[in-house]
Symmetry: C2
DNA sequence: AGCCTTGCTGAAAGCGCTTTCATAGTAGCG
DNA sequence: CGCTACTATGAAAGCGCTTTCAGCAAGGCT
């Protein structure tokens, strides 16, 4: 074990200055004369001084920490967004405190409470739908909050147009002549992203005079296996769809799998379109047609926005990032 | 914005008790009489009191926060491990502070410094190889540290036998009659996991009287594209290998891709084996033979171990988790 | 030359909580 | 019953830092 930790006053004594000066050497170096600064830095260096974050946070009111609450870290999507956030935050000396709620609003509330208690300087959340208690907590705390993927018009947000993503997927399929299109969506409970994607697809179909009956929509857990299962259900219908939209790429990849297992050829026997634009989607076979979502940018921008808010700079209330259809081999013109 | 935050003393006044009592109501409820406890809780509830973590950390010396430093969050492997950690920690009221170093030892040092500064109660790191400065920092701090994937005999560790993973992959291929086996490894610089896997494979080959010349080993960035590129290089050799080992599943999946793009049939023309056991690997086509690594368990156990260490309970200096060969369709007996 | 800036540093008061230490009841015991 | 031994609470001293608020030099100005 170490000797008692070196503290600011030790550095001050060593450098022959007051604690205030050492503090300034760390936080506002330009207030000091070059000579003093050098002296303090030398002492700090030599003693191996590491400021105590808790004390700094308590005294200054800022923890240099940003919180992020996602449904799960175990998802290529959120992992990428968090990596991007973390990278951006690190540049500014901030650290990321993460929590996940696994799709439970109550767990999200708990997470917000925990992060707020830890004194995060800002908070990133996914989606706009949550327990009213959570929102109340957030508002009472009055700290910078950035919503991602979906906004609610109240909190600052970095979003994508999920409905448009659904629409693009559907329109692509409609354009290819498909008339009977199915969709596998994530559980719509507490998942506004999936709801919006489904609604967008449904809307596009309706505008084309097509219907998206409940029988052609299945809700599944957000996993590859969920995609397979959903695909299986849809393909076993009396009149199965000729094309499928996956609410996330993972679903679509599951569809590819399931179709393959059934001896069906994608895209000859079934067209499949995903939404997300995972790296993996370009590499499955056949390459997955998907609506690309700039996941990394969402994370980066969320971090940037939070940082700006912490610094009391003005920010866009809502930044809408573009989604884009990427056509690959998993979709083609409907037979006949 | 909110009114000034409710603090402990407000609750104390409201409940008609001393601050000490309120503090105890939070941290050591059984020290209070049921009556007092109820009174305090009621006040806290009504006022919406949320303890200030920074103040608690400063006064108590514990931040209820565990740090984790991984190469990147944007990897199915680390994402899963972190999710498992986070879930376990949350159960005990701890939060996860994450940082990534993107393969840079210097960045890792910085991250350690940042996390130590934030007063984490414990730290999870990946691998055993790091800048001596980092190790010095860790030792000086004298806080619970758990290494994952690889241990170094000094710090507590939750590991897998990476060499064995490489060996299992190689032996499987050797057993199938392959004589010319190539390997795609991650950059070996600052990556002891990859080095061990390569060494294990090489050892197995040597024991079978086979050679793994440098020409059959390529180092690539840890991405799917890296796997493809590595595969391409190996296949373009004058006498290309008949089987490939991917240092991570992503590489192996890249190989599947690349082989497919070249019109080669896996496993007829080329056998491919990965190491990791990604979910995705069961779903690519052909299904990937891989050495499964219990990634989630690593995270869970790392969390559990850290929690035990924080509580000053004795822990295993090193827990070795099993790896296991999972044979799927991407590997078969060598032709002729 | 006297006065006012401007620039740099120090003194000291907290930030909101935990934690000895001390105290006052309360019960148990011979 | 008087004494010990708890138990439940309060008083107060920090935890290590930041941040006004002053103060003192050293110039710049008229």
């Amino acid at each position: 074990m170490s000797a008692t930790r070196v503290k600011l006053s030790d550095v001050a004594r060593d450098a022959g200055v007051s604690p205030a000066t050492v503090s300034r050497a760390i936080a506002q170096p330009d207030l000091l004369s070059p000579k003093t600064l050098a002296k303090v830095r030398a002492s700090a260096q030599r003693l191996g001084y590491l400021p105590d974050g808790a004390a700094r946070a308590l005294a200054s009111g800022r923890s240099m920490t940003i919180g992020a609450i996602v449904p799960t870290l175990d998802s290529a999507i959120f992992a990428r967004a968090l990596q991007a956030m973390q990278a951006r935050l690190a540049q500014s000396g901030y650290l990321l405190l993460v929590a996940s709620h696994e799709g439970s609003p109550a767990a999200e509330t708990q997470a917000v409470r925990a992060l707020l208690g830890r004194g995060v300087d800002g908070l990133m959340l996914v989606g706009a739908e949550r327990a009213t208690e959570t929102t109340a907590l957030l508002e009472a705390a009055g700290l910078p909050v950035v919503l991602t993927w979906c906004g609610d018009g109240r909190f600052t947000a970095v979003t994508i147009d999920n409905a448009r993503a659904g629409r693009l997927a559907a329109e692509h399929l409609i354009g290819l002549g498909h008339r009977r299109i199915g969709m596998i969506a994530g559980h719509l409970q507490f998942n506004d992203r999936q709801r919006a994607r489904l609604a967008g697809a449904r809307r596009a179909l309706a505008e084309a005079g097509l219907d998206l009956p409940d029988s052609l929509v299945v809700e599944q857990a957000l996993t590859l296996a969920g995609g397979r299962a959903g695909c299986a259900m849809l393909l076993e219908l009396d009149t199965p769809p000729t094309a499928l939209i996956g609410g996330i790429d993972l679903f679509a990849i599951g569809c590819l799998e399931e179709a393959h297992a059934r001896g069906m050829i994608v895209p000859d026997d079934l067209s499949v379109v995903g939404i997300d634009g995972l790296d993996m989607s370009a590499h499955v076979s056949p390459g997955l047609t998907t609506v690309h979502v700039p996941t990394g940018r969402i994370g980066n921008l969320a971090a940037q926005t939070l940082l700006a808010m912490v610094a009391r700079q003005p920010v866009e209330p809502e930044t809408l990032l573009p989604v884009e259809l990427v056509v690959r081999r998993s979709s083609q013109a409907a037979a006949g």
